[in-house]
Symmetry: C2
């Protein structure tokens, strides 16, 4: 294990009916901006519950934070927040609304342009306190300091770090009306978040391994049950909890992480608009195949503990484990090849060129260069 | 799953050499009280490292917080803290020093007697900020709000809740010189902490189950390696991490917990002075045998997942799992029968009488009454 520092201050408020806690959690003297995505929360009762809980608070509303939140949209919220002297922000919706809110909260006290902070988070001086009612289990944003922001003008998509939500309200019943496609992407996203922290060769911890495996096995166990009945409270509750625990630092203490799948996936989204979860399940199986020697020991453990594969030939065992993982993604159901989305060679070439120009090397050992990314993307076709 | 609220604000600073972080973590304008146990930290270099890190800070020292910290000792620290206007406390040592410090931090701002706060924590009005350098992995006190305090005069021992340490420094190399008996008790303590949260029948979560099992399996895996070489950094690091994660709320979100083993064990310590970990490994196997019908489903899962027992007869399978658990405790090595400690029937009778008088019923379903406690203690002999 390597040395680490860990602190996660977010208060989780979890369970059916928990939106009513907003009343007590936000001081009444705060001038609140509520941030929203599209209108789905007006159909499923979430908006009504938020309004009822905040009946004695002062708030304004900002609507329209889109999936893969764009700085172009967020700038409007920043402007509104500055004008109205907002001192608390409550995001209501999925991970994108919350990610966007993290940038808004950092950019309202900043005099320059919001995109500066994405490129250079050290410019952040003060962050307006924010919290959330999260209605889509996927990104883990509700219990971490990260956010991913896109720039429409430049076709860029970057992760940036702000701070932790003060509190996050998770009511599993709010997920009952989610489109099944979003559930599938959420399960995939959570699964790959864990894989990015688990599928590494060095600085392992047997405890962190088992906690990562615990989330993976839980997602594999509950996915078919959720497909059968999306209104099964316990299954949705465990899905929500798994998604949050997948990216809150609990499974990455003292270990190395990878994140190459995400880095490549972000480029696919930036260039084609493909949903985040969809990009991950395309890239990851190919990445594991290409990187199988570097990750051999952990891939063998993964084959045994997650997929119960007893095959003695190591390479066969690894390929079987990757096949089972890909089949799991396909069962969600999600497509796992670029061609199934009509994405062709031009996009792959542009991605490889971008990484070649940036000279960034990806993965736990920074061993994935532009040529390796080409090899991975060729397998994704 | 049931509704829950979770927040753990402690900052973990983990790894070799991390004591030097004290310098930056405690503001220089604080008037610090350092609290210690006996003198072992003067032999193993911890005291020197603390002194070096705090060379530019103002501090006074309070020595002599004993195992199973006694309110009689802590009152002296409270008096000193009041007199010297202490506004930060740093505990350096094991869980007992930190537990005692939690009471000291709560009692310095309180006008009455410290024991009042143990009996009635709602009397706590303000808590002086405190942190710790923890040198004995066992209690989990470094990342929770609880403490257990004894009263020499009344032979009582109670858990009480104050608040979380601001930060906790865990340097695995500080455990290299611990007496093997304390390591054995620490492993047992951590194992049973997990069992208290895992071995329950209702409000289960598959994720929390797997995280609990992850700690149990890790402890089983590392215990013999630690016995072989107590200076193996990675083993001691994973032991420290496991002990902290065993009792910081991470494995009890949305589930029921039990704690009957602890409640009975505390009485044994209060009456005989037996070390906490020793009492737990005596009580728990017998408690599981007596409560096996209530806990049948989880005991079967425990038999399969932790001990790989494939026996088809359920009762045999459960008994085999309990035997393996008891053998694990004996391998640490710890004694698992009262008679091995020369503890006789008079102590058991006194414990049963105490619970009969208090009319408290223990366990996840509050189904363990004085008669059941008698049955459990009879099996412990």
């Amino acid at each position: 294990m390597r040395n680490f520092s860990f602190q996660n201050t977010t208060k989780l408020i979890f369970g059916a009916g928990s939106i009513s806690n907003l009343m007590a959690e936000i001081p009444q003297d705060k001038k609140i901006m509520l941030t929203f995505g599209g209108g789905s929360i007006k159909q499923n009762g979430v908006y009504d519950q938020v309004q009822a809980a905040l009946v004695n608070h002062h708030y304004i509303e900002f609507w329209g934070i889109e999936p893969n939140p764009k700085v172009e949209t967020l700038r409007k919220a920043v402007e509104l927040g500055k004008r109205e002297n907002i001192d608390f922000i409550l995001a209501v919706g999925g991970g994108s609304v919350l990610d966007g809110t993290k940038l808004i909260a950092s950019a309202i006290p900043y005099t320059g342009d919001a995109w500066d902070l994405v490129l250079n988070p050290s410019l952040i001086q003060r962050i307006i306190p924010f919290a959330d009612v999260i209605t889509l289990p996927a990104t883990g944003s509700e219990m971490n300091a990260g956010a991913v922001i896109s720039n429409l003008a430049t076709h860029e998509k970057y992760a940036f770090h702000s701070t932790y939500p003060q509190f996050s309200i998770l009511d599993p019943t709010t997920t009952y009306s989610l489109p099944p496609f979003q559930i599938a992407c959420g399960i995939a996203d959570s699964f790959v978040h864990v894989m990015e922290q688990y599928m590494v060769d060095k600085n392992n911890s047997p405890l962190m391994d088992r906690w990562a495996e615990g989330i993976l096995s839980t997602l594999i166990e509950i996915a078919p049950k959720i497909r059968q009945n999306q209104q099964d409270y316990d299954q949705m509750a465990n899905f929500m909890l798994s998604a949050t625990m997948a990216l809150n630092g609990f499974i990455s203490m003292g270990i190395c992480t990878d994140w190459a799948t995400h880095m490549i996936g972000h480029e696919i989204t930036a260039l084609t608009g493909l949903t985040h979860g969809e990009t991950l399940v395309i890239v990851e199986p190919s990445l594991l195949r290409v990187m199988k020697n570097e990750k051999r020991k952990k891939l063998l453990q993964f084959a045994e503990r997650i997929w119960n594969i007893s095959e003695t030939n190591e390479d066969k065992k690894i390929e079987l484990a990757i096949e089972k993982t890909e089949n799991f993604y396909r069962s969600l159901p999600l497509k796992t090849k670029l061609s199934e989305h009509g994405i062709g060679n031009d996009v792959c070439e542009e991605i490889v060129n971008r990484f070649r120009e940036r000279k960034t090397q990806l993965g736990e050992n920074a061993s994935i260069d532009a040529d390796t990314i080409k090899e991975i993307l060729d397998l994704c076709k």
